[in-house]
């Protein structure tokens, strides 16, 4: 299938540029474009706008019919109240701690494993890799109950990890998708580079540190984003291993949900708004990396 780009137009899509430059085409295009922008803004930003503005309303105004778009009497005290009562600072800190700890463990263990599988190729390496990939076939929720039991009483070592950060960090290392991405990337590093370093007397660890890692920045970025987002968005697992045992160890999602049981709704909304802020800011800053990493991981060549 010839894929030579046309020399007269850049990538052509369903509707040709020439159709759009005609008067009628232009008009339809402008109407559709405006419609799309308005509708999408309403649908995607609308709820978030209410997330933040309803937190500012007093309880009476929040339930008015018809609903007001701009709070008539802004009441920022609700946010302060939410911050204190739900203990958001603590929840945020916990979640960041878990997320970056998991990231650190994954970077150390999974990168080393992918390096070994790709460049060092030990005996039985294929078997191990296949066993890791096989875990992708097992739906995560199916494992939740036995994982919980295992974490409560680790075989051989007889440790109880419930309530400690390792309960989130260590299982996150068993991420076959990350290892798959890393190994695929490492496989694409020409063997000559590694061989040249070995001939010069570099140890394998040194090769990993000084040669493989610097080249691998793009894939490390993708894996890091996936790792942090996975912990940040997880609910069921932190609910099982961190909640209820020591409330000060809960993650953001679990903490807010628990607060929703006992705290008035507008405070819960205000708390949710505050909780949403870090992710939104993070996303807006790193959006280009996140969006390109998403498509890089999603497409197969």
């Amino acid at each position: 299938m010839a894929a030579t780009p046309s020399t007269t137009q850049s990538t052509r899509t369903l509707i040709s540029s020439s159709a759009l430059s005609r008067a009628r085409g232009k008009l339809i295009y402008r109407i559709v474009l405006t419609l799309v922008i308005v509708v999408f803004t309403l649908v995607f930003i609308g709820p978030m706008y209410f997330l933040f503005s309803d937190g500012l309303k007093t309880t009476q105004e929040a339930v008015q019919v018809p609903p007001t778009i701009i709070p008539a009497h802004p009441h920022p005290a609700t946010f302060v109240h939410a911050w204190d009562e739900v203990g958001i600072a603590r929840l945020l800190f916990n979640t960041l701690y878990y997320a970056f700890g998991a990231l650190a463990f994954q970077l150390v263990f999974d990168v080393s494993a992918a390096y070994a599988l790709s460049k060092l190729r030990p005996v039985f390496g294929n078997v191990i890799f296949a066993a890791m990939l096989a875990t992708l076939m097992i739906p995560a929720t199916v494992l939740v109950v036995p994982q919980y039991i295992t974490v409560a009483d680790l075989p051989i070592l007889h440790l109880n990890l419930i309530g400690s950060p390792e309960a989130i960090w260590l299982p996150s290392v068993a991420n076959a998708f990350s290892i798959f991405l890393l190994k695929r990337f490492f496989d694409s590093i020409p063997g000559e580079i590694v061989d040249a370093a070995a001939i010069d007397g570099a140890s394998r660890g040194r090769i990993l540190r000084s040669i493989v890692l610097p080249i691998s920045r793009p894939i490390l970025g993708v894996v890091s984003i996936f790792a942090v987002v996975a912990v940040w968005k997880d609910f069921l697992w932190p609910l099982l291993v961190e909640a209820g045992y020591s409330p000060s160890h809960e993650t953001l999602n679990v903490g807010i949900w628990q607060a929703a049981q006992s705290v008035p709704q507008n405070v819960v909304i205000a708390a949710s708004a505050i909780a949403a802020l870090p992710t939104l800011v993070f996303f807006l800053i790193f959006q280009r990396n996140i969006l390109s990493g998403l498509t890089a991981g999603g497409l197969k060549g």
Partner: protein, 329 residues
Amino acid sequence: MTDIATLSEASRRSRPPRSTRSPRGGGRLGGRLGAKVRRNTSAYGFLFGAVACFAFFAWYPMVREIIMSFQQTHLGVTSWAGFANYDRIFHDPTFWLAWRNTLEFTLLALVLGYAVPFFTAILLNELRHARGYLRVLVYLPVMLPPASALLLFAYFYDPTYGLFNRVLHAVGLPTSQWVQSPGTGFVSMAMVSVVIAATWMNMGGATLIYLAALQNIPGELYEAAEIDGAGLWSKIRHITIPQTRLILSMLLMLQVVATMQMFVEAFILTNGGAGVGDNTLSVVNLIYTYAFALSGASNYDSASALGVVLMLVLAVFSGGYLWVTRERG
């Protein structure tokens, strides 16, 4: 350890001088074997951390779950129970209800959460302006903490004070009870409400993946079709869809597998997952209920059996799907 030391000693003596030695050991057996052993040892050193985590938290739990599904534990005494656990869950009416609900959710999510992102991507691909802005918009909900987004939707869905009903009321349209609708028909308003929330939260990812795939379609195909007089829908049917069919197929399978494991959405929206008359109870929710929420002794055994059933269903589905869609010839 002595063997390795002896081997490397022997290989060191029999090796040619360092500068002419190839990194993987010399041409002679001794050098190659010694280097190979060393390479394997250090490789396993690198592998150790990840393999240990996989062993403890993936492989062992998997095996344990299958074994536990054939056991029963009473007052700390574990005994083999054959298929008794499976028998018990098959006779639980909630089991069948959970599967029906999950199927309902998966089918609704296919209509809303699979078709919508694809056509949204097609639409976005056609627009020449505001692309960056629209892409960010679509993906923004994906970045929200699920509890925040779902509590917000629960707040919107409140039948008396929620935003949706207040707006509907203000413009004179009939209101709905949304997630708290009591119906238990196959398509219940309650489940539709769950699907709407879930789609809003998650469609950004699929939309962007489709968008990237669409940009790989060669423009000449569209030109050629237009010369032959093809209209818009015809172009979509005969060019866009076939050109992206690999991605469409893969995401379809991934989405079905993912939606059959739905838990968080129903759990937070209905504050426990059951809904009115259990009409939003999903299979994973039932696993959770069996294991942690039953009064009296937690029943890990039933939960394990249900987990194995879920795994088998998904395995059969994935295997069957891959078989049916395999490349022929």
